[in-house]
Amino acid sequence: MDISSLVFDWDQLGIVFALLGAVLAALLGGIGSAIGVGMTGQAAAGVVTEDPSKFGKVLILQLLPGTQGIYGLLIGFVTLTQIGILGGSADLTLAKGLLYLAACLPMAIVGLVSAKWQAKAAVSSISLVAKKPDQFGKSMIFPAMVETYAVLALLISILSITSIGGLSV
């Protein structure tokens, strides 16, 4: 019996961890956005029930927590391309797989948390628009501030993912 066939090749797990990273980015960002858009949708529906003329304004506020899901999808897509699942070679060392997983985590975690908090800010802004429609511009700023941190996480994830390929590990 060939002993070497019994030794587990840890590098086979590289692609598994890399894919896990891509999935987490899309999954957690998507969950956060689904919760966020759901919350803001309820608030928007409440305002439109009483005053249908505010539909346009509250719709924009409703959509703000939806961006984290898009960022997560983008990170997932870039990762899949980089690790060779969407064409090319899918050979990765364990170290690289773990690096891809780590690179995806900022978007995954910040996406989930920021979407929920942005939704809370957007719900408050919808209440503001309900009472003072002329303050729509200002009401957009409050939830948009939360977006900053989702964008920062997106940036660091993208920079990391696109740089890992050049590393010799």
Partner: protein, 321 residues
């Protein structure tokens, strides 16, 4: 769950735009008479144009508020704090009607959480099990007390105290800070009113002890002791509690004290204007509407009786918006 009320709170925010503000109150005050006041209120959508009288108009507005709340939520449990007084008032009426063998006619208040006819049947059959346990126990005690002593006031004291204890329990179990603080304020104010009335009518210590509901912001023992002495002792005791201003208002007049009570409620709920979650804003909206209705009632009755504007204005409550 705080997130359960997102839709409801957003609707309430839109509805708050139609609440009467200080300018609306000034407009009503500027009306030359009662009829003009009614016209202004009708223009603002009050009564829907079908109310025959001022009381009818105000009753319609109260009903509109509860219809709106029922539309927003099926669970009225958090509002039990506001519904208990109606239920216990109906229970009093049911007990007295049965004991005095009078057919209940126009004695029940609408809008309670329990059907008054069910209450009347429970009292008639001497079976209070269909009522909530605390209410059933109080109803049983009040019914047998009235039956054996014929003392209507004692019956009222038993039910009023049960009502206040119910309000406190409801506030505590709601896990909502606003409801809890409102329940505390409501019970404390009721205790102060009871102590003042008991003091002025020379009630015994045992009667006062039975009437005052325990409350964490007031020591009812000290309040009862002060009520046995003089109104000044009550004011003196209140001065060392969070209700020191109540004593000052009571020294001025009873109507100033009542205005202070309502203004305290408005101060309590005002922070809900910036809360987009929880049942708090819904609760605040109901209280704001009740305050609005009460203010309009003061203006209408003042105009109807051709009272001096200054006299009406000193009774006007702070508004929510």
């Amino acid at each position: 769950m705080s997130d359960d009320y997102i839709y409801a709170v957003a609707r309430v925010r839109s509805k708050e735009l139609s609440l009467l503000g200080r300018q609306d109150i000034d407009q009503l005050m500027a009306c030359r008479g009662f009829d003009e006041c009614l016209r202004v209120l009708n223009d603002k959508g009050w009564g829907g144009g079908s109310a025959a009288s001022a009381e009818g108009l105000l009753a319609q507005e109260e009903e509109k508020t509860w219809a709106f709340i029922r539309e927003l939520t099926d669970d009225l449990t958090p509002f039990a704090v506001l519904l208990f007084p109606i239920d216990y008032n109906n229970l009093k009426a049911a007990v007295k009607c049965v004991v005095t063998d009078v057919k209940p006619q126009n004695v029940f208040l609408p809008g309670g959480s329990i059907d008054p006819q069910l209450m009347a049947r429970c009292v008639r059959e001497n079976d209070f099990s269909p009522l909530p346990p605390a209410m059933a126990a109080a109803a049983d005690e009040a019914y047998h007390t009235l039956l054996h002593t014929g003392d209507g006031q004692l019956c009222d004291v038993i039910l009023d105290r049960a009502c206040l204890e119910g309000i406190l329990d409801c506030g505590k179990s709601s896990k909502n800070e606003l409801l809890e603080r409102y329940a505390q304020l409501r019970v404390a104010v009721a205790d102060i009113k009871t102590a003042v009335r008991a003091c002025k009518t020379g009630k015994s210590r045992s009667f006062i002890d039975a009437a005052l509901a325990p409350c964490s912001t007031l020591d009812v023992g000290s309040l009862a002791a002060a009520a046995c002495k003089s109104p000044e002792d009550i004011y003196g005791y209140l001065a060392v509690t969070p209700y020191g201003a109540a004593g000052e208002k009571l020294k001025d007049s009873y109507s100033a004290f009542e205005k202070w009570c309502d203004d305290q409620v408005m101060d309590l709920i005002k922070e809900q204007k910036s809360n987009p979650f929880t049942v708090g804003p819904l609760f605040a909206y109901v209280l704001a509407r009740q305050n609005e209705i009460s203010t309009v009632r003061i203006i209408l009755s003042g105009k109807l009786n051709e009272l001096d504007d200054g006299m009406i204005r000193e009774r006007l409550r702070d508004m929510y918006v």
